[in-house]
């Protein structure tokens, strides 16, 4: 029997999708249990499985015996506005989830890079935060718990649905940013906020150094923007660098911050955007990172932001860059060679700055790895985690470079 036949017998016709150009059979299990069944079988049979979401972010090009996509895990079992919590399956598109939350007056404070339909599971697995990281923290801060299936088909729950939870070890945080190397996320419990009653965006154009200074002044003035993002001209499609400031929350707080913004603008003038312009600005930023072949993020201390931006410009060219200087995180997208990326990662490691490769074609991804240049002692732990949560190495993930 072929893999196609076996899996069809296991999961039914409904789970079979058309194969992509690389002819790898693709399956879309319709429930978390079906994911467990499929991975359990793959583990026994020795099949190598590639995990996909909506297929809009990571290239679907990893060599595998079969592809498992979470796109049919698209239910939202619970939205609880009075508790500000929700439970959603991993395959739901972020745009759909956002819409459903908004209908109930709730809001998820994350705006990851990628197209609008990128799945929740993909965002969690790669821990890719966007500009809102400045005000609302990294992806892990929005998670209350996850359910995942290990590489050998075990279904594991961690965390819960309540605001605080320290029962047991934190497997949720292992999955957030694990790039699927330690299991496939099937269900996510989320921490929500109320839909901001005021949400405005201001832009300031200028030289990068000047804008960095303005960013620091904004922080020093004690303003609390939801996002404070420095965007390169190419990415913003403008002549000069752009500082985007997003204020979101209660009208009183937003008005107070708007008043403070003028004082911190360092002589320049912030331009307010109309709602649809603001939406377009942030969308373009997110989508920009899904169209070039290579995207990575780095994280340093805030005071190193300038130096790191210089370094990126020098080593790779300042193609498309977006930085959240106060949070110390920078995202880059463009074209880069294996050699250059590896050299950059080593240089950065010397500065205590990790580089996480978010997307790249398989040959580059497998050579460079999502992770690498580990600090002392991390390598053996990651290997141990891989062996524990995917003992048969069924999950094809370019964890570390070669």
């Amino acid at each position: 029997m072929t893999i196609l036949e076996k899996v069809t017998a296991l999961l039914g016709e409904g789970a079979v999708l058309e194969a992509g150009t690389d002819r790898v059979p693709r399956f879309a299990p319709g429930s978390p249990d079906a994911v467990a069944l499929l991975l359990g079988t793959a583990h026994q049979e020795g099949w190598r499985v590639r995990i996909e979401g909506a297929g809009t972010w990571l290239q679907s090009d990893a060599p595998a015996d079969l592809a498992l996509t979470t796109r049919r895990l698209d239910r939202i079992p619970a939205i609880e506005p009075p508790d500000l919590t929700a439970t959603a399956e991993a395959g739901i598109g972020l745009d759909q989830l956002r819409q459903q939350l908004a209908d109930r007056g709730a809001w998820l404070g994350i705006d990851p890079p990628g197209l609008a339909g990128r799945t929740l599971g993909s965002v969690v697995a790669t821990a890719s935060a966007g500009p809102l990281r400045h005000g609302f923290g990294p992806i892990k801060d929005h998670l209350l718990g996850v359910t995942f299936v290990t590489g050998d088909g075990r279904m594991v729950q961690s965390g819960g649905r309540v605001m605080k939870n320290v029962a047991g070890y934190d497997l949720t945080r292992l999955q957030a940013g694990g790039f699927g190397a330690f299991g496939v996320i099937v269900l996510v419990h989320l921490r929500l906020r109320t839909l901001p009653r005021a949400d405005v965006t201001y832009l300031l154009e200028g030289a990068r150094e000047d804008l960095t200074q303005v960013g620091e002044d904004v922080a020093a003035a004690g303003l609390t923007p939801a996002a404070l993002e420095l965007v390169s001209p190419a990415l913003a499609r403008r002549d000069r660098w752009v500082l985007g400031v997003r204020l979101a929350g209660s009208p009183a707080l937003v008005a107070a911050d708007e008043a403070g913004l003028g004082a911190a603008s360092g002589g320049g003038r912030f331009t307010p955007l109309r709602a649809e312009e603001a939406h377009a600005f942030w969308m373009r930023l997110a989508e920009g990172f899904a169209v070039r072949p290579v995207t990575f993020r780095i994280g340093g201390v805030p005071s190193a932001s300038d130096e790191l931006l210089d370094l990126l410009q020098h080593q790779l060219g300042d193609e498309w860059i977006s930085a959240s200087p106060a949070a110390g995180s920078i995202r880059w997208t463009g074209e880069a060679s294996i050699d250059r990326l590896q050299r950059l990662r080593r240089t950065l490691a010397g500065l205590e700055v990790p580089l996480t490769l978010e997307r790249a074609p398989w040959p580059l991804r497998s050579a460079v790895g999502h992770f690498g240049a580990y600090r002392e002692g991390v390598g053996p732990l990651v290997t141990g985690l891989r062996r524990t949560f995917d003992p048969g190495a069924a999950l094809v993930v370019a964890t570390e470079g070669e």
């Binding site: 609880e80 009075p82 508790d83 500000l84 919590t85 007056g105 821990a127 801060d141 290990t150 075990r154 594991v156 729950q157 961690s158 649905r161 309540v162 605001m163 605080k164 939870n165 320290v166 029962a167 047991g168 070890y169 934190d170 497997l171 945080r173 292992l174 957030a176 940013g177 694990g178 906020r193 109320t194 839909l195 009653r197 003035a221 004690g222 209660s250 009183a252 707080l253 911050d257 403070g260 780095i298 994280g299 340093g300 201390v301 805030p302 110390g328 995180s329 700055v353 990790p354 992770f371 600090r375 002392e376 002692g377 991390v378 053996p380 732990l381 985690l385 062996r387 524990t388 964890t399």
Partner: protein, 481 residues
């Protein structure tokens, strides 16, 4: 000369440890060891075989390597203010006390971070950074005594975690000493991780994955404007509804705390009397903070209106910093004041969905009444994190049994409401028995397997957190060598 200590000769292990840390920092006499038999939850008691207090990071490393070489299990301990029996070392186990590792290594004002040793006391870190306009935001009630290392182990919370997040949200990087004596560097000062988020995995691991030797914490600007409200209610239910009203209105207070009458009275009888009305069924302590004074006042007024509508008898605002401090001291020392009610105390730490608070509270008091017990509630209402405390006299065995039964019933009530068994105190020994109520055998097995990646021999803090008998076996558990 005065008698020196113990008449019996030190054991070979004590001698070897003394060679590392000095004889006066090794405690082998029973009288010294019994003082370490408990943490902040004295219903659990275990006397360690040996206590060692290293004074430097290097000494600590040498101690752990020696224990690794001899295959001796050990338990790291901070100030011993934990509330789950987590930092207890039983027979055959060495207790490593980290209180002497109390140096603040570095404060980086520009990047808002500090590097500290594990024994630094929480409140002392904030005191050291306050002059720079910064503070360490997680503020467990025991912050005047507890250590950052202990906070990391337990993923400690506190009143202001409602807005600012728990310990896990404030740890950037860790240097960790594993059970085998090897050092691991997790995370980076910018908060990005090297590979998977092992900082997130380590925080809250209850001292079972190793010992944090250096901790890089995020510092938070001190808010410029603060308003503290005290609202009192004539029924618990209306107080609970007041909480729900605030959350549903989308307001995120810096803190939102509740205390019931029994707790109010214990505090008012103590040196920390805060002026809470003794006849109130419950009080809510609500704090709003931010940059802009006008906005903070506007939001505080909105909260006051919501509370009045929900049925608050009075809502008053702290008029001065001194009054605010007094209101908070009363709340933070409430747990310690429980000794006024009875000599023994069972402390719970369940979390429920916030909308379930009014119902759950009512059920809890019903249970207490049925068993004829005194239950006092003091808790983080805004998070739905309950601390029902049962006061009793443990010398009465029948009473003790009733307390056990009532505790179990309270716990099942919270779980049935969609909650969890511990929000910030940790599992330790105390909540082991409840773990199978919220996790299946597979998930418990996964936790145990995770632990064995860090500590394959289960030599650090054995027997805590995961009830091993309830785990499903995981085949591949070895850590890469």
């Amino acid at each position: 000369m005065r008698l020196l200590y113990s008449m019996t000769a030190p054991s070979p292990l004590a001698r070897d440890l003394a060679a590392i840390v000095g004889a006066k920092h090794v405690r082998e006499a029973l009288a010294a060891r019994v003082t370490y038999a408990m943490d902040g939850l004295p219903t659990h008691r275990r006397v360690p075989d040996l206590v060692v207090l290293p004074g430097t990071r290097e000494e600590l490393i040498a101690v752990v390597r020696l224990l690794a070489a001899l295959d001796v299990p050990f338990v790291p301990r901070g100030a011993g203010t934990g509330l789950s029996g987590g930092a207890l070392a039983g027979e055959g186990t060495v207790l490593i006390v980290l209180t002497r590792l109390n140096r603040i290594v570095r404060i980086d004002r520009a990047n808002r971070l500090a590097v500290v040793e594990p024994g630094v006391v929480n409140a002392k870190l904030t005191a050291a950074t306050k002059p720079l306009g910064l503070h360490y935001a997680p503020d467990p009630s025991s912050q005047t005594a507890c250590t950052i290392g202990g906070n990391v182990a337990e993923n400690a919370g506190g009143p202001h975690c409602l807005k600012y997040g728990v310990t896990a949200n404030h740890i950037l990087a860790l240097e960790v000493l594993l059970a085998d004596g090897s050092l691991v560097e997790l995370g980076s000062p910018g908060g990005e991780t090297w590979g998977p988020d092992l900082v997130g995995v380590f925080v809250g691991s209850e001292g079972n994955f190793g010992v944090a030797t250096r901790i890089t914490v995020r510092l938070t600007p001190v808010p410029r404007a603060v308003r503290t409200l005290l609202a009192d209610f004539t029924s618990i239910r209306t107080a609970g509804e007041g909480v729900s009203a605030i959350i549903a209105a989308g307001i995120v207070p810096a803190a939102l705390e509740m205390m019931d009458q029994s707790c109010i009275r214990a505090v008012e009888d103590s040196v920390y009397a805060a002026g809470y009305p003794r006849d109130a069924a419950a009080v809510l302590l609500v704090e709003i903070d931010g940059r802009n004074a006008d906005a903070v006042v506007a939001e505080a007024d909105a909260v006051a209106d919501l509370l009045r509508t929900a049925g608050a008898r009075t809502v008053r605002t702290a008029a001065s910093e001194a009054e605010r401090e007094r209101l908070w001291q009363g709340r933070k020392k409430a747990f310690g004041a429980m000794g006024r009610l009875s000599r023994d105390l069972v402390v719970q730490d369940a979390v429920v969905p916030r909308s379930a608070l009014p119902d759950v509270l009512e059920t809890i008091y019903g249970i207490a009444q049925r068993y004829g017990l005194v239950v006092s509630n003091v808790f983080h209402a805004g998070d739905g994190n309950l601390h029902p405390n049962i006061s009793f006299d443990a010398t009465d065995p029948a009473l003790k049994q009733r307390v056990e039964a009532a505790s179990a019933e309270i716990m099942s009530t919270c779980i049935a409401a969609g909650g969890t068994i511990t929000g910030e105190h940790g599992v330790g020994l105390d909540k082991l028995r409840y773990m199978p109520l919220i996790f299946d055998a597979e998930s418990l097995g996964a936790m145990q397997a995770l632990r064995r990646v860090f500590d394959p021999e289960e030599r650090v803090n054995p027997g805590k957190v995961v009830p091993v008998h309830a785990c499903r076996e995981w085949a591949s558990l070895a850590r890469a060598s």
